[in-house]
Symmetry: C2
Subunit: 207 residues, 2 copies
């Protein structure tokens, strides 16, 4: 269990909060389809058939295709935020906390790449209200990383001229992992996490 936790960057088997079982199967199918082809290129028939059900079954558990994306995005952002908060609020120096935050955040983007891809790149497919809700979560993600960097600057551990710009760059680096990472590649999520943590420490002058 704890091994699996480490390899995925935090969670054993996700979506356990989604019930009943048929709703979860549909949601998992939607994550895979959205990650592979994108939200707009995915049909409700494709999602249903991946879940082993008829097209109409989707509408028993979800009002629209967009509600599926919203649920996925919401749960994914909650999880991402949880990962960063855990790293941010542990004991230790700012350097240790930043390395932990970047390492686990990157492991999540690499290890749970299908989810991360949907979460990070399908935001624009949401309607205005749903998008506003998610954007608020993203601001909290930004605040969490910025907080660690500010702590490091205050304690003298870090040497950063533009805190907000550096925060943006750190998150940017982590998020883009979801775009290029593939399980067929030469690196494991752990290796990428360790490399990126090291690079980020250099970026803040603590390498």
């Amino acid at each position: 269990m704890s091994t699996a936790e480490e390899t995925t960057g935090g969670e054993v088997e996700p979506w356990e909060e989604v019930t009943p079982d048929a709703a979860r199967r549909l949601l998992v199918a939607a994550v895979e389809a959205f990650a592979e082809r994108g939200y707009h290129a995915t049909t409700t028939r494709d999602i249903a058939s991946r879940a082993g059900m008829s097209p109409a079954a989707l509408y028993i558990h979800y009002k629209t295709k967009e509600e599926l994306l919203h649920r996925i995005s919401r749960i994914g952002h909650d999880r991402a935020l949880d990962i960063l908060r855990t790293a941010s609020r542990r004991e230790g120096t700012a350097k240790e906390r930043l390395a932990d935050a970047v390492g686990s955040f990157v492991r999540w983007h690499a290890g749970r790449r299908t989810t991360a891809r949907v979460v990070q790149y399908e935001l624009d497919a949401l309607g205005p209200e749903a998008r506003a809700e998610i954007v608020a979560l993203r601001r909290q993600v930004d605040a969490e990383v910025r907080g660690i960097i500010e702590d490091g600057v205050a304690s003298g551990e870090f040497d950063v001229r533009d805190v907000q710009g550096t925060t943006l760059a750190v998150l940017s680096l982590c998020i883009d992992v979801a775009r290029w990472f593939t399980v067929n590649g030469p690196r494991t999520p752990e290796e990428v996490g360790a490399l990126y943590a090291d690079l980020v420490l250099r970026m803040v002058g603590a390498g």
Copy 2:
């Protein structure tokens, strides 16, 4: 003119190679639409009406909607590669060349964000042969950046353990600019380019 060149990261008014005029207007309209809503969410009617033409006019100049994306992606990648090659082959130390490459590459992604967005994020919408052609160009992009980093390591200017991994991270950082940058934001393309060049030099141990 040279001012404009600097603000956009390299080019004054692009797409000049696309003729005749109607074909260029359609292509520019497609870039805007694809960048705003994504390839699959864009309709041929939307593209044509942005160009001030009827839906059927598109098919006089392009065989399919996908051919439009292919042309955009090809020209955009050529331009991106050109920017990196120019920086890579200028005279100067590896440190200067890497700062120049990252600075101009980032300025292009920020200043010509609509194009960059399509180029970097709509690759999967291409068919197999077209995608293969673009993937080859991307390998050349990677090689150009890796070359500079290898030069810096060889000359002792850089301290990099994992050259390929660091190359990936540098490109990743630059590319993700196209995802988050907005003209309404607080930073100009020049400012982001300068900040990112500085951060990248730190990543390679030359900050």
